[in-house]
Subunit: 162 residues, 2 copies
Amino acid sequence: MMKLALQPLTREAFKPFGDVVETEGATHFPINNGTTTRFHDLAALQFSGSNAKPIVSIFRGQAFTLPLEITMMEHHPYGSQLFMPLSGHPYVVVVAPKGELQPQQIQAFLATGQQGVNYHSGVWHHPLISLEASSDFLIVDRAGEEANCIEQDLNQSILLEF
Amino acid sequence: MMKLALQPLTREAFKPFGDVVETEGATHFPINNGTTTRFHDLAALQFSGSNAKPIVSIFRGQAFTLPLEITMMEHHPYGSQLFMPLSGHPYVVVVAPKGELQPQQIQAFLATGQQGVNYHSGVWHHPLISLEASSDFLIVDRAGEEANCIEQDLNQSILLEF
């Protein structure tokens, strides 16, 4: 089975797939008479199609342990999908570029509990892989008329490991 | 000085002002082959005006202690503003109904570190009041051409206390 190791999650490495939502390195300025710092506009939200709009939800993901067999990926053709951890636990982000899904192009990142990710529209990703404990995430994604989740099985499984 | 005590934050009590973003009591269903629970569409996002769009930011608020003197309120005429706590600490939500600001209509709520709030457009609220420690919040609010923050000093201060 093909093996895939986790990389640290950085804005630069994740750029082909979307945004890393974190304070480090972000544009920021004081508001509220100096009592609050605003880290401003951290993700490109995308929503298209009929009656499309962004919505806010919470996902509660069960805890996984590595090594873990990856057998499928999914993408959302009509919108971005943002995950922001609320429970402070790390999680795994598995992605592949837009277009035809090619297993050898799959990459995996280890996100800290203080890093969110925003998958851009069309970017292949694995469903939520929380580590350590069942974890909640705030989600900003797209509602609309068209079905917006395309799943595809891999023609060969990938073993995800630290 | 007029004194104001904190109420527990509940969906019902907060309904005139906006949404409480929490899993408890929310519509939910399984996704990702049963490994994730989706608590679905928890807030009414609003954004109007020229070139209006929702944006995602992080606010880092300094810690306050009570009792605290409240001297002003603000509102956003062109959009809602959602706060979701990322640090797990409680915070205080001070609000008044849309329209002419009347100090005797101000209410204060104690939010847990697992409860977000979404102020609806036009609803008066106080800037961020984190308790216990400096705390980060994920924010979903509106960007656009028109200025979108109206501040107003109170004609009499209010003493906020537990």
